[in-house]
């Protein structure tokens, strides 16, 4: 794809990139802390990943290999659109293979293939403030972070348990970073939370509309909030991926007919392909599970 004329490498001007990198350095120095930054108006709409795009644009170099996923897949329309954007404005190599990428921009998932040292994972973040659902005011939540006043988060989880018998949060499940800041992992399923813990890759988070950056440096402690008698747990499935037979990946449910028929397939399209290339195969058909009574709590 030809590189578009009239724009700087990776769209943003160098001063803006430096401003964002300074913010990122601060974010890395204080893991989980939300750093305000002068977010720019991007040629993609707010909510489409403008924060992640700005972070990617400010750290990407001509030798980087970029992978973009949305819902775990490389071929969803928004992932295609963002990958094309960088191919156009930066002319960088792109890939769908997790292991080949130096820079991975993601919305809503962490790849199943473990990331390695030297890789950077950039998250698109809609609402960076994990306390937002208990306190709508920014002036208040900033104070709560400063004073480590996180009791309300445990109260919220406790209320879930008394009301529903379990913690009723399935995605955007709050985490405690490096024992200090409560942080939103972005709307990834809680299935992915354990992957953040001591991840060898650098994790950067960009929220464009809310104008915040934050980061988790490599090998940092990331703990999901829970209680001793109600430990954190992740989703499990009784079925396996219909295409590759994986029983360890996050599965998307696909409706196959109007009779309630459905099948489960890997949300991570690269992981699924890798397994199929290695000779694994699923049962290939709809799920025969009648009522879905999944996993053990």
């Amino acid at each position: 794809m030809s590189v578009v004329r009239g724009y700087n490498f990776a769209y943003l001007d160098e001063q803006t990139k430096r401003m964002i990198r300074r913010g990122l350095l601060k974010a890395v120095a204080v893991p989980g802390y939300q750093v305000p930054f002068g977010s720019r108006e991007m040629p993609l709409p707010y909510g489409w990943g403008t924060g992640g795009i700005q972070v990617t644009a400010s750290v990407i170099g001509p030798d980087d290999v970029l992978k973009v996923i949305d819902q775990g897949a490389d071929d969803t329309t928004n992932a295609v659109s963002i990958r094309r954007f960088f191919a156009r404005v930066a002319g960088v190599a792109t890939t769908e293979r997790t292991t080949e990428a130096t820079l991975i921009q993601t919305r809503h998932r962490i790849p199943e293939t473990p990331l390695a040292e030297g890789q950077i994972l950039v998250y698109q973040v809609p609402i960076p403030e994990p306390l937002r659902w208990v306190e709508p005011r920014e002036t208040e939540t900033r104070k709560m972070h400063a004073l480590t006043e996180y009791g309300v988060m445990h109260v919220k989880l406790y209320e879930d348990i008394t009301r529903h018998g379990r913690i009723a949060t399935s995605f955007n499940y709050p985490v405690l970073v490096n024992g200090r800041y409560v942080m939103s992992p972005s709307p990834i399923p809680k299935f992915d939370n354990p992957k953040m813990h001591r991840m060898p890759a650098l994790q950067l988070f960009g929220a464009g509309r809310e104008k915040r950056l934050y980061a988790v440096p490599p090998h940092t402690r990331v703990e999901s909030l829970d209680f001793e008698d109600h430990p954190f747990e992740v989703q499990t499935w009784d079925d396996v991926c219909a295409l590759c037979g994986a029983d360890d990946s996050y599965l998307d449910e696909v409706i196959v007919d109007d009779q309630g028929g459905r099948m489960f397939v890997c949300s991570d399209s690269d992981y699924c392909r890798q397994r199929r290339d290695a000779g694994h195969a699923g049962h290939g058909g709809p799920s025969d599970l009648e009522t879905v009574e999944r996993g053990t709590p």
């Binding site: 399923p189 599965l251 998307d252």
Partner: protein
């Protein structure tokens, strides 16, 4: 066999082609020129310039054409372009007292120096569809050539100021640089200059509704229109190496100053207070709404009880920008399969547990 949702690339290409085709409409109908848009849809151009934060009629007309007349989309296009432009200079404050006035009215004084100048207003038209406009008309009768008023048009608030009846407004430090929302994120409490900047870029409909809410009792500010003026003002910059100001052009502005009742507080005597609105082009609804909301947001500094949405600066300033709100509201149409799968799983589990309990 399940066919994965492949082909995103091709789908996007085709969608763009369809969009281009729909934008053009019937090829038998002559294509709109930017000049037509800028001349005949001039108020749309004004709104797009104001909320898009660039004074450029041609670019705004292009954005409107490209956006198929969707003004919020046009504002977004203009903003995304603006953000790539270099900053050459910061202008000096424009002097609206020296405005070359096309319209100037006051609702507080029957007559006043500079006079009441009605100008090209919809205000006293009867809103009857003019079917003569349905066909290209031969000629528009020429409007009587009013002599532009050469005499100075003093501000209504200055008249009140002389008597000390209205709160004076002096910048804390007139030489301090003005904040720039497009470079620095909002922080609270926001100073008035930052608030006004936010409101100037804010969605007209949002400000209209908020301004209206103050009139209906949600944070009443008892406003009078001290003055609305619309006309050209000169823009000056002072290049660093030159040492004096040079004029770089004229822009059309609409300015509104409200005079609001204020019964006084522990520290302030009873006096009138002000609200301020300013917009590019001829944008009276926007300027008035902005002035109402500006005044409402001053509740904290005036010691008023802050209870209504329009008085709440986090509520107003965080939600006024239509590029932000339009994007975030519409992003929920992007795929959320993964999160939804999590919710499906959760609801099924909760239901299964309830059923199991009921069976016992």
């Amino acid at each position: 066999m399940y066919v994965a949702v492949k082909g995103g690339e091709k789908a996007i290409d085709n969608a763009h082609r369809l969009l281009a085709e729909d934008r053009r409409g019937d090829p038998a109908v002559p294509e709109l020129s930017l000049r037509q848009i800028s001349e005949q849809l001039s108020l749309a151009v004004d709104r797009v310039m104001t909320e898009g934060s660039i004074y450029d009629r041609d670019l705004a007309a292009l954005a409107i054409k490209q956006a198929r007349g969707d003004l919020v989309e046009a504002i977004f296009l203009l903003r995304a372009y603006r953000t790539t432009l270099p900053r050459l200079a910061v202008s000096r404050p424009v002097d609206t007292t020296a405005m070359h006035v096309h319209r100037r009215i006051s609702a507080t004084f029957k007559d006043l120096p500079g006079g009441q100048v009605l100008g090209p207003t919809f205000d006293y038209t009867h809103r009857l569809l003019d079917f003569d406009l349905a066909e290209p008309s031969a000629e528009v009768p020429e409007a009587p050539a009013g002599s532009p008023r050469g005499d100075p048009v003093p501000r209504v608030t200055e008249v009140l100021n002389r008597e000390g009846l209205i709160a004076r407004e002096v910048a804390d430090d007139p030489n301090a640089p003005v904040g720039d929302l497009t470079r620095e994120p909002l922080a609270f409490p926001a100073d008035r200059a930052t608030r006004l900047q936010n409101l100037a870029r804010g969605d007209e409909g949002f400000l209209l509704a908020l301004g209206y809410s103050t009139q209906r009792g949600f944070g009443s500010t008892h406003p009078f229109i001290g003055e609305i003026r619309m006309g050209e003002v000169a823009v000056e910059i002072e290049p660093e190496d030159l040492g004096f100001a040079v004029e770089i052009g004229d822009i059309l502005l609409t300015e509104c100053e409200t005079v609001n009742q204020f019964k006084g507080s522990k520290t302030e005597p009873p006096q009138f207070t002000r609200g301020y609105g300013l917009a590019f082009g001829y944008a009276e609804r926007k300027a008035i709404s902005m002035a109402l909301v500006d005044r409402a947001l001053r509740g904290r500094e005036l010691g008023e009880e802050v209870v209504a949405p329009a008085q709440d600066e986090e509520f107003v300033l965080y939600h006024s920008d239509n590029v932000e709100s339009s994007g975030f509201v519409q992003h929920i149409k992007l795929p959320h399969y993964v999160d939804f799968q999590g919710e499906l799983d959760l609801v099924r589990r909760l239901r299964a547990e309830r059923d199991a309990e009921a069976a016992q």
